[in-house]
């Protein structure tokens, strides 16, 4: 694979996340030859940098199982598959850590997931960046899953991402009849960090229920990208889908790019999307200050509450505590 095979900003799906430019400093990791596979660049890079044992597979047959994984700089690419068998339920927690160590700071992961009819999967991604704030790290984090969701099955996901030189977390779901999809996320883009949350839900059968709430914040020279697409196929009657992306630009020079898309071919559906990007309400800040709360704390309190609204109620207390602690640390330390 060559640098030229990677998508650049001229590729529509990558126009705000120029992978080719980001990879140009790490060209040496690109090995092998051959055309880009149909699965796309993340799958190709994850396989190329995998441990050489081919795709790993995880099969969940019992209810209530939890799987935790941790990816840090220097790890191999992750290329695998997960099957949640009918009647089983599982929770996947993925922690992706960037520390700015520059030791092969390239973390590609690609997972194909099948959730059989009636099964349920909860997935949580905590993508942290402990490199000093404002310092330019070199890490490229690419994480993609492709989910096949069976009839009456559910897929619920929560992502908190702090970004890196380039971070892209991509989720594609194809949902069968009566399935439930929930995809919430919080992104925190400090200076010199790039966070891209891209998702696509195909409502391929009747009665799919989808909720997506993404909240993000960006500071000066931080960049957030949200690309969300709901496709409702002709067979997707009675789809009930809502997408919302709201961002706060905390400082001048912060950037947020958003592309919410609805593509609907069925005629009996309820689909809504909302997208906002703006600044914190100074009148609200003043209200808090008038009650004696100092300016910095007032802003943190409003921003924190704004972000926490995207945390799902199904998350267990320990993980929720971990996510809140990341948000608090970011709000308190990234300024």
């Amino acid at each position: 694979m060559d640098l030229a095979d990677l998508p650049s900003r001229r590729t529509e799906a990558w126009k705000w996340s120029d992978l080719r430019a980001a990879m140009s400093s790490q060209e040496s990791v690109l090995i092998g030859t051959g055309a880009m596979p149909a699965e796309g660049p993340i799958a190709a890079l994850a396989e190329m940098l995998g441990d050489g044992y081919g795709p790993s597979a995880l099969i969940v047959e019992a209810p209530g199982e939890t799987f935790e994984s941790r990816i840090t700089e220097g790890d191999a690419g992750q290329y695998g598959s997960v099957i949640v068998k009918a009647g089983a339920t599982a929770t996947m927690i993925e922690r992706i850590g960037v520390s700015g160590s520059r030791l092969r700071p390239f973390l590609p992961s690609y997972t194909r997931i099948e959730i059989e009819p009636g099964a349920a999967l909860h997935r949580i991604i905590v993508q942290a960046n402990s490199a000093p704030a404002d310092e330019r790290d070199a890490a490229i984090v690419l994480n993609e899953i492709v989910v096949k969701l069976g009839a009456g099955a559910s897929f619920r996901q929560f992502v908190v991402a702090e970004g890196s030189r380039l971070t892209r977390i991509e989720t594609s779901v194809t949902a069968a009849e009566g399935a439930v999809v929930e995809m919430n996320a919080v992104y925190l883009a400090a200076a010199n960090r790039h966070v891209d949350l891209t998702s696509r839900v195909a409502h391929a059968a009747p009665g799919v229920h989808t909720r997506q709430l993404v909240r993000g914040v960006a500071r000066k020279s931080g960049r957030g990208v949200f690309q969300g697409k709901f496709l409702v196929e002709r067979a997707g009657q009675k789809t009930d889908a809502e997408m919302a992306h709201n961002a706060l630009l905390l400082e001048e020079g912060a950037e947020v790019f958003a592309k919410p898309e609805l593509e609907i071919y069925a005629d009996d559906v309820a689909c809504a999307h909302g997208n906002t990007a703006g600044q914190i309400d100074e009148n609200a800040v003043f209200y808090l200050r008038q009650r004696g709360i100092p300016d910095i704390e007032a802003r943190a309190m409003i921003t924190r509450a704004f972000l926490l609204e995207a945390l799902p109620n199904w998350m267990d207390e320990v993980v929720r505590g971990e996510v809140e602690a990341r948000i608090d640390a970011w709000l308190g330390g990234a300024s």
């Binding site: 309400d281 100074e282 009148n283 609200a284 003043f286 209200y287 808090l288 200050r289 008038q290 009650r291 004696g292 709360i293 100092p294 300016d295 704390e297 007032a298 309190m301 409003i302 924190r304 509450a305 704004f306 926490l308 609204e309």
Partner: protein
């Protein structure tokens, strides 16, 4: 306690030219007194409340404002609050995701910290909150909901007074606290306000109508017009206004 001397202030909108709103306002509210400010729309009532509490977008161009003899205008809003200045907002802000009690406790502790006092303990806070809520007939569920989100106009005003009772300020500015209240709610709110009247406290009640002053009896009434106090008097002045309107007091330029 609060002394305003020949205060001139401009509102500075983010877009558009600034306008002078206060044009030489002088006023003195001694400790222990309640003064009412009445005036027609656009006379500068709300501007006065924002200038005193330090809202962004208002520039004082000349004159002075002191609180307990010290300059007020150079202080940040939160410092003014810590010194005991409280504004009951005409339009209280909705703060999504922050429950009322969490917010009030944070405010209480921020003020205590700034004054070098220990934080309020959880049992003490709950006791104070219960007392204030009972007095104002506020449902305890309301205090767990996000601040002002989805609250009716009357509920918001009641919640302003709840915050006032909790924070125990020394000087209160009530900006059109009566708007949005029916007569029963008005009585409840007035009772809460009157509970804070006392020797060490001052109050400025800004209102359009005399009605509120039936329940919060002022020591002095001032008529504000075109950015200046054009007439001051005793409580009877409010009644006179109610009867014959503002026109007689408005200067014709």
């Amino acid at each position: 306690m609060l002394e305003l001397n020949n205060l001139h202030a401009r509102v500075v909108p983010e877009d558009g030219p600034s306008r002078e709103i206060l044009k030489g306002l002088s006023l003195s509210v001694p400790a222990g007194e309640v003064h009412a400010i009445m005036g027609p729309n656009g006379s500068g009532k709300s501007t006065l409340s924002y200038v005193l509490t330090g809202k962004h977008g208002y520039d004082v161009t000349s004159g002075s404002a002191t609180f307990d003899g010290a300059d007020l205008l150079s202080l940040e809003p939160e410092v003014r609050a810590t010194k005991g200045l409280f504004l009951s907002f005409q339009y209280p802000l909705e703060i999504a995701g922050v429950p009322v009690m969490t917010f009030v406790r944070a405010a209480m502790n921020a003020q205590r910290k700034a004054r070098g006092e220990p934080e309020v303990s959880a049992p003490e806070f709950l006791k104070l909150s219960k007392l204030a809520a009972t007095k104002l007939r506020i449902d305890s569920d309301m205090l767990k909901r996000p601040l002002n989100v989805g609250f009716s106009g009357g509920e918001k005003k009641r919640l302003e007074i709840y915050q006032m009772l909790m924070l125990q300020p020394r000087f209160m500015i009530l900006d059109e606290t009566d708007s949005g209240l029916d007569i029963d709610a008005l009585k409840v709110v007035a009772e809460g306000v009157n509970a804070l009247r006392g020797a060490g406290r001052g109050m400025l009640v800004i209102t359009h109508y005399q009605r509120l002053l039936d329940y919060i009896k002022p020591d002095r009434v001032h008529i504000l017009s075109a950015g200046r106090i054009v007439k001051s008097g005793g409580p009877d002045l409010a009644l006179e206004l109610e009867k014959s309107g503002y026109d007689q007091f408005l200067k014709v330029d």
